[in-house]
């Protein structure tokens, strides 16, 4: 641990806040990506059993 002197609080808190925000952003993005991926797979599976292959044309 480097000696941060009298500004330790400022330096540590800015690192903590920034890393916290970045981690939160990454975690939220990953969670939402997983959720949407799973939901889409489910909906697509439902569509297939219904006998529709046309969804491929969807852009």
């Amino acid at each position: 641990m480097p000696d941060l002197g009298k500004y330790a609080e400022a330096v540590l808190s800015s690192y903590a806040i920034s890393l916290g925000l970045i981690v939160a952003l990454v975690v939220l993005s990953v969670l939402r990506a997983r959720k949407v991926k799973a939901q889409l797979a489910e909906v697509e599976a439902r569509g297939k059993t219904g006998g529709k292959a046309q969804e491929q044309a969807d852009g």
């Binding site: 500004y7 400022a10 808190s13 800015s14 920034s18 990506a33 991926k37 969804e55």
Partner: protein
Amino acid sequence: MSSIWEYANPKKFIATTDRLLPWVSALALGLMVLGLVWGFFFTPDDFRQGSTVKIIYIHVPSAMMAINAWAMMLVASLVWIVRRHHVSALAARAAAPIGAVMTVIALATGAIWGQPMWGTWWEWDPRLTSFLILFLFYLGYIALWSAIEDDDTAADLTSILCLVGSVFALLSRYAVNFWNQGLHQGASVLRAGALAGDTEERVSNVFATPLFISMAGFLMLFIALVFLRTQTEIRARRMRALLARERMQ
């Protein structure tokens, strides 16, 4: 044969980014850890600013990405308006929250840095003020996206807002400069603008190398997040389309 517009096909985009994503994420993580650990543990204190100089390894890259994210959204919006590729509009949508978070980080670290250096948390300094205005633009953009249900309408409206907003954001930047000359340049030796050109003169190399590594890391982080979030938006859009079709049947 392989033009860049091929990636406008959502399937192709997802396939390509799926392959790239692990590499970009690993690179982002590696560069950020390297830059930040180097900056935090292995650089000396500045003789005037003491250890607060270490905040620069977060403050400057996040500020850079806050502006670059908006620039990327502007380009993506233009592509959407001109060529009407859905991936482009969705990429702009995916980038907005990242840009907003970067703006918050830049503002928060700026305020924390300003406290010991300038003796105040918040100073209506032009640079800080224009970042606050940029943050408001991000909020408006995100709010407009989420307020409109129809995807194409939302893409059209937000891209026009992005264009108009860019002009006004620049205008505000100059207006704010005129309004208050500010502390940023005078009080802080390590000003962000100086890094691009006269780095040697302003920031000695001891600080510059980890800073550039950290900036590259933030850039990679941004790219990785945009890939991931654009994939999510594409899938969400496709799901909405499928659900709408189901309801019709």
